[in-house]
């Protein structure tokens, strides 16, 4: 058993399950599942993936060729229970998404970016995503209501507004994407993005820094289980390490989570080449215990970039010529989608791959550095097992390193040689115990009494990619969903939500704003069921 939250590091232990919970013990005649010689961990927790909602569905619609190439007949469940067919690719259909995550031993997944206007759709799609428990991160930080409040010097409303929005959209946490940048993209005119955290957004009282401070402050004042989840300005740009560090410093001392950090850890300069700045970034993370991150590793192969960061997606379309979806979402945010492919032969992709691995291997505290590929932006969640092998197996990693384009790897720590190999315990931290703790999910990510009975049992295969790709048994909420490697049961998962209290006075102000500008009724806004 590997249960790092409870100090179990490879000892032989029993796990007792009663109903949907782990309990301290059971009578001697309780039915037994023999896991001798196997590796037992809590069910996987994916802190950041794009699996449901309007942007994700636009992505599905955009990629029929991927679905045609990856048909998925319905699994044969035990007792003839009905199951659903679907299609895969980088953005699978909903039933297939649930089945595949469960097949990978993941039992909790957070949908990373939901526009409030379309929250109702995100929940409907999650209702059709079986097995996994799920929560939504709701997008804030480019919404016109907030920006007007800040412009008027009223940042104190941010707390009530955020609390109201989290509840009405049935969300779990606040997501911030390119704060101020998407607003500029939608405004039109000469400025199409921000380039620094002190750039004015419509008014000098509104800057990315001020937006971040208002929302981080709100999240912490509300004592939300997960802090603001931040996609920094300048994603994907050479030299963006400066923006990333400036952002982290702006929020120093406060809890904040920085997502897909790999895309924000580049040195160099536009037109002059790229370098890895992973060392600088991870040094800051190491030294600041209030900061948590997920890596957003790039894995070679097909990907689909789907993000609220409209201006970034425009640039990707313009530079690659790939097909492109942009959707400006009224009064709130936006969405951009470009299919992509990371190639070992491409210098930039090779650098990105190296940067991600450097962040992992130079991190001192695995509890604050979570495994992710920003699915499907850096690669599919199905590539997690290969990533785990890269972290655990130096020989394999070095072999892969030899095959990639070395052109931009001068000065890269990985190229210089990083000997570290993640242990099984550390993998258990970065794929379950750590994200559960960072999300404030007290009954997830561990196997102590009282925890949800989400358990993954692996064969102890020395090929760690093979091992993590094919769990032998997966238990979700006490039900054995995967048995001997086959999906046998597909119960519905639960939705993880927060409902912080708020001062009702905020709704009076919001109604005025809706009356003036909105194209949906205030009463119809959000994801709550109506009478």
């Amino acid at each position: 058993m590997y249960d790092p939250a409870n100090g179990v590091d490879g000892q032989v232990r029993d796990v007792c399950i009663e109903g949907d919970r782990i309990v301290a013990d059971l009578p001697a005649n309780a039915p037994r599942l023999d896991a001798r010689g196997m590796i037992v961990m809590p069910g996987g927790v994916d802190i950041h993936a794009h699996i449901a909602g309007s942007s994700v569905n636009q992505g599905r619609r955009l990629l029929p060729e991927e679905h045609v190439a990856d048909p998925v007949p319905a699994p044969r469940l035990a007792d003839g229970a009905p199951a659903r067919s679907g299609t895969g690719g980088t953005i699978p259909s909903t039933f297939t998404t649930g089945y595949r995550y469960a097949g990978l031993g993941y039992t909790t997944v957070m949908e990373a970016a939901v526009a409030p206007l379309a929250a109702r759709q995100a929940h409907a799609e999650l209702d059709d995503t079986p097995i996994i428990d799920a929560g939504c991160f709701v997008l804030l930080g480019n919404d016109d209501y907030l920006l007007r409040q800040l412009a008027g010097g009223e940042s104190t409303h941010a707390r009530e507004y955020a609390a109201w929005l989290l509840g009405v959209t049935r969300a779990y946490a606040i997501k911030i994407v390119n704060p101020g940048g998407v607003a500029r993209w939608k405004t039109g005119g000469a400025e199409r993005n921000v380039s620094g955290i002190d750039d004015p957004v419509g008014s000098s009282s509104v800057t990315p820094r001020k937006i971040l401070e208002a929302l981080a402050g709100a999240a912490n004042a509300l004592e939300l289980p997960h802090p603001v989840h931040i996609h920094c300005n300048n994603l994907g740009q050479p030299g963006n390490v400066a923006t990333t560090l400036a952002t982290m410093r702006a929020l120093a001392g406060q809890r904040a989570h920085f997502t897909h950090l790999q895309f924000h850890s580049y040195g160099g300069e536009r037109g002059k080449g790229w370098t890895s700045a992973a060392r600088d970034v991870i040094e800051h993370v190491n030294a600041h215990p209030e900061v948590s991150v997920d890596v957003g590793q790039v894995m070679f192969g097909p990907a689909t970039t789907v993000t609220a960061d409209g201006p970034v997606e425009y640039l990707l379309h313009a530079s690659t010529g790939r097909k492109w979806v942009n959707l400006d979402i009224e009064l709130e945010t936006g969405c951009g989608i470009v299919p992509y492919s990371y190639k070992e032969t491409a210098a930039v992709a090779a650098l990105q791959w190296a940067v991600g691995l450097e962040l992992f291997l130079l991190a001192r505290d695995p509890w604050r550095v979570v495994l992710s590929t920003d699915h499907p932006n850096g690669g599919s969640f199905l590539s997690y097992p290969r990533l785990i092998r890269l972290l655990m197996d130096r020989a394999y990693r070095d072999e892969q390193l030899k095959r990639v384009n070395q052109k931009m790897l001068a000065g890269s720590a990985l190229r210089d040689g990083l000997a570290r190999e993640y242990t099984l315990s550390e993998i258990a931290v970065v794929t379950r115990a750590g994200p559960a703790r960072l999300l404030g999910l007290k009954s997830k990510g561990h196997l102590g009494p009282g925890a949800d009975a989400d358990v993954t049992i692996y064969a102890n295969d020395p090929d760690r990619a093979q091992m993590f790709a094919t769990p032998r048994h997966v238990i979700k909420g006490g039900a054995v969903v995967v048995e001997d490697g086959q999906l046998r049961r597909a119960p519905a998962g639960r939705r993880l939500v927060v409902r912080p209290e708020y001062d009702p006075a905020i709704t009076r102000d919001l109604r005025r704003f809706f009356d003036d500008y909105a194209c949906v009724e205030f009463a119809n806004y959000g994801a709550e069921p109506v009478a």
């Binding site: 909903t94 409907a124 993209w185 039109g188 379309h317 400006d328």
Partner: protein, 416 residues
């Protein structure tokens, strides 16, 4: 015992793809007496809310149980069934329909089959778009391409595109320049600040010339494109441009090259400025069918489950298969009145099950008919606006069994 009169606010109208959710419905003695804020088209869509509540087998009234039993038998006996999504269904009902299609290994298609050109162009190239409220907030140049929304989308101009004040358009109509492009008989709105006329046969090339102009490539000085380069320049100088085209078939079926040219022009305009293409779609929550079918199968319409998993047959969907006689039974869900004429002809003479509003009056004489409520009038749940924004339904009346409920019961009988 219902009160004499009651008022239901914030009701979503599904008369067209505008999906206006600000309708106040006044109900008197269980009939809709008033629909405040609704346009003429919406008022007709709501009607008085009275609908048949029959279940019939071979035209004879029977119990719902018996009808569903016969429906299950009919569909299970089929070797090549069709499931067709017509109008006026909630997303909840649409989800049940996809489950049934999966179970029956059916061809699943919808009204979107008739609007395929735009959908396919967007799959080939993507789309630069925006939700309708963003047009209201920002658009300072609006180009209506061969369409006057007043006819089929009556409140579009008032709610979204032209008249209302927005964050960046504080004077409403006065903050915007409206340009009407008349393409043959397809004319833009009468109230336009400028007009450009293009012959139908020149339309695709004109769009190409415009795109070339926007991209700074050499355009054409041919007389037949006169006006196009200038229009393109005018659009490039806008702050936030909106290009509006009708996605529903008109006199002629959708031209894939035209659809693609509109998409790529809008995309190209995001170089010099910002631009969104709005594709107008019809009502009855057909955009909901696109969303639901996409998330559950990966494809938006024409999904063939015959191999045991979803496959995509946009050129061999309901219309084609009915025409070739390949379908041997059909489950038609939604309002039969919304079904295009060629499909109605194909359905006549087939063993069919109709479940939806006024199913019992379907002209193709289904073997089994189950009357249900209309989504948004009798049936709650979720529906989508034409720009893919989800909205809740607040049905003002109770009515016959819901389509979602009837389909769920059918699923249970079929072990789905």
């Amino acid at each position: 015992m219902s009160p004499a009169a009651r008022t239901v606010e914030h009701v979503t109208c599904l008369g067209c793809g505008c999906a206006c959710d600000d309708i106040t419905v006044v109900v008197k003695q269980d009939r809709i007496a008033e629909t405040r804020n609704a346009c003429a088209l919406g008022t007709v869509w709501f009607g008085d809310g009275q609908i048949p509540q029959d279940a019939r087998v071979n035209g004879r009234p029977t119990s719902l149980e018996q009808a569903l039993g016969e429906a299950a038998r009919t569909l299970e006996a089929a070797k090549r069934p069709l499931v067709y999504l017509a109008a006026d269904l909630s997303c909840e009902a649409q989800r049940e329909a996809v489950a049934l299609s999966d179970r029956l290994s059916a061809m699943l298609d919808s009204l979107t089959g008739a609007a395929a050109a735009g959908v396919l162009a967007a799959q080939r190239r993507g789309r630069a778009g925006a939700t309708l409220g963003e047009i209201r907030q920002r658009a300072d140049v609006i180009v209506f391409w061969g369409v006057d929304p007043a006819e089929r989308y009556p409140r579009f101009a008032a709610r979204y595109a032209v008249e209302p004040r927005g964050l960046a358009t504080p004077r409403g109509r006065a903050s915007r320049t409206v340009i009407a492009v008349d393409v043959g008989a397809g004319r833009g709105p009468a109230d336009a600040d400028a007009r450009v006329a293009i012959a139908v046969g020149d339309e695709v090339d004109a769009l190409g010339v415009m795109r070339a102009t926007v991209q700074g490539r050499v355009a054409s000085d041919e007389a037949r494109f006169r006006g196009s380069p200038e229009l393109a320049r005018r659009m490039s100088e806008g702050r936030y441009v909106t290009l509006v085209a009708d996605g529903e078939p008109g006199a002629a079926p959708g031209d894939p090259d035209r659809a693609e040219a509109l998409v790529t022009l809008a995309q190209a305009l995001n170089g010099p400025t910002r631009c969104a293409l709005v594709v107008l779609r019809g009502g009855g929550n057909r955009s909901g069918a696109d969303a639901v079918v996409t998330w559950q199968t990966g494809f938006p319409f024409a999904v063939d489950f015959a191999p045991g998993f979803p496959t995509y047959r946009p050129h061999a969907g309901a219309a084609a298969l009915l025409a070739t006689g390949e379908i041997d039974a059909a489950l038609v869900i939604g309002s039969p009145a919304s079904i295009p004429e060629p499909l109605l002809r194909g359905l006549a003479g087939l063993p069919s099950v109709a479940i939806g509003p006024r199913a019992s009056t379907a002209t193709f004489q289904p073997a089994v008919a189950v009357d249900t409520g209309v989504a948004g009038i009798h049936e709650g749940g979720m529906a989508f606006r034409m720009d893919d924004v989800p909205l809740p339904l607040r049905p003002p009346l109770a009515g016959p069994p819901t389509a979602a409920g009837a389909l769920r019961a059918l699923r249970e009988r079929l072990g789905a």
